[in-house]
Amino acid sequence: MIDQVLLFAENRYARLVLVGLMVLSLQTTVFNDMRPFGVCLQVMVLLAASAGLARGSDVGAIAGFIIGLLYDMVLTTPMGLCAAVFATVGYLAGVGQSLVYAPTWWSRMLLGSIASAIGMILLPIASTITGATGILNAHVLFVALIVGLFNAVLSIPAERLCRWALTEPAAVR
């Protein structure tokens, strides 16, 4: 039984789920109260982008999907919507990282910020496709700008967290 638990804990996606739960609790509490310029900061999308930056586009897409699915559980949007969007964000962040020659800390911050902003634009588009009305307007760009700026600040620690969570099981041993 203990062995099975340890085996489960060694799985990098299981670790990501636990990390995701922690970040989700921060998202629904402290980041929900802190609304600079009236915009709710989105650390879940940052986590998805950071997964792509830390481990590449493939892992980023899967990790983004898992993180988005966790977020879908507490939102009233259709289940799977954030999962699809965050998977795209994770994938794009990974692709962006692979295109940068000798990435530096500021290039990772920039990519995290851009990927988060893209996620904030894709989310209302996807919501509109699934039938929501009235949310695709100019305010989306403002939200994307604010979320992008604040996520840039948090992107370095978030990437380190994802790098640790998504480490291969062999490397953990």
């Binding site: 998202q27 980041f31 009236g38 709710c40 493939d58 009233t76 289940m79 009235g134 305010h139």
Partner: protein
């Protein structure tokens, strides 16, 4: 490389398919998805509660830094408001009771006859694109999807998701919110001609007023019909202040029969108000997101209804299929956007309830008559 591309393509395909299947299931109201969300809530709430306790000082510090001045201003404003409201509260309560008695005497539904459940707001949506709050009451209190939610000021939204001990409330500002409402138009101002005692007929003062009932000793108020004012108690002196009109025969006081338009009498008459009763028109209230005020559409451009005035109250319309009972206060008209042709105006609404500071709310356990289960 071929294997790598295949794996990547397969992974993307699988993720996309899973997303589409999940979205489809959720949009079709799958019980599996609801069960998954409910179960996740049971697991996640303790984690969230613990995090809330731990991060509360951080949140308080942030709010202290960013909102201190606003809180001080708000405090001053509320102190003034409390002082102002205390005086009018007693008369308002009396009026409401009288109105409810009248409604019940006539067999009409009132809010007093609807059971309710009080709840506290425990969280709000972390999304920037949906305006919802979470309350700490659920199906154990008899809540059902669609029930209207109010606070002391007025309507704030409706229940959209119900779990055992919590529910999600969609706020009026959410783009997905829609409700049938009534616009109670304030009567247009009437032109009142006041004749001071002893003033010659030609020397008159014209003022504008919106009052419907006035007692004017020695003063005659005119509307379209000379000398006839709905809802006005006229007490004239024994001496008429009017010069006789050309061709008019002056009849001595006391010889006059029933009250005649345009002529003063020695008796007091009270004409019941009728023409100045506020007119009502229905429309549909729609939310437009947190940064924009809700609007009312589909208000018919009727000449009888006239131009909608800023400040006109908006109340719920009720009806057999409406999710809210009639006459719940929603807000007032803050801006009127007129449109050409037969298109009615679009009304921007300032909500009576402050949706940024929600604490205790009341859920009316109301179901429209079309959805009630018939009792045997």
């Amino acid at each position: 490389m071929a294997d790598f591309s295949f794996t990547r393509r397969r992974a993307i395909l699988l993720l996309s398919l899973t997303s589409v299947i999940l979205i489809t299931m959720d949009l079709r109201g799958s019980s599996v998805i609801n069960f998954a969300r409910s179960t996740f809530g049971v697991v996640f709430r303790p984690i969230e509660s613990a995090t809330k306790v731990v991060t509360r000082p951080l949140g308080n510090a942030w709010n202290g830094i960013t909102h201190y001045n606003d809180v001080v201003k708000e405090n001053h404003r509320l102190n003034d408001l409390v002082a102002y409201s205390e005086g009018s509260t007693i008369s308002a309560i009396a009026s409401v009771r009288e109105a409810q008695e009248l409604l019940s005497l006539n067999g009409l539904p009132t809010l007093a006859g609807i059971a309710s459940c009080t709840a506290q707001v425990v969280g709000q949506s972390p999304s920037n694109f949906t305006q919802t709050v979470e309350i700490n009451r659920g199906s154990e209190c008899g809540l059902k999807v669609g029930m209207p939610v109010l606070n002391a000021a007025g309507m704030i939204g409706k229940i959209t998701d119900v779990y055992n001990k919590r529910s999600v409330v969609m706020l009026l500002t959410d783009p997905g919110y829609s409700l049938a409402v009534k616009v109670v138009n304030i009567p247009a101002p009437t032109t009142t001609t006041t004749v001071a005692p002893g003033t010659p007929v030609g020397d008159t003062t014209t003022t504008t007023s919106t009052t419907t009932t006035t007692t004017l000793p020695r003063v005659t108020t005119t509307t379209g019909i000379p000398g006839f004012v709905p809802g006005v108690t006229i007490a004239t002196s024994s001496t008429s202040t009017f010069a006789p009109l050309p061709g008019e025969v002056t009849v001595p006081i006391g010889d006059v029969g029933p009250n005649q338009p345009g002529k003063s009498t020695s008796s007091e008459i009270t004409v019941p108000a009728g023409l100045d009763v506020p007119l009502r028109e229905t429309g549909a209230l729609e939310g437009r997101g947190i940064a924009r005020t809700p609007i009312v559409r589909f208000v018919e451009n009727q000449p009888r209804f006239g131009a909608v005035r800023i400040g006109s109250p908006i109340i719920s319309a009720g009806g057999a299929t409406s999710l809210a009972p009639p006459d719940i206060v929603i807000g007032s008209v803050s801006r009127v956007v007129n449109r050409t042709g037969t298109l009615g105006p679009i009304l921007e609404v300032t909500l009576a309830a402050n949706l940024k500071n929600l604490n205790f709310v009341r859920i009316l356990l109301y179901q429209p008559s079309s959805e009630r289960v018939a009792t045997p």
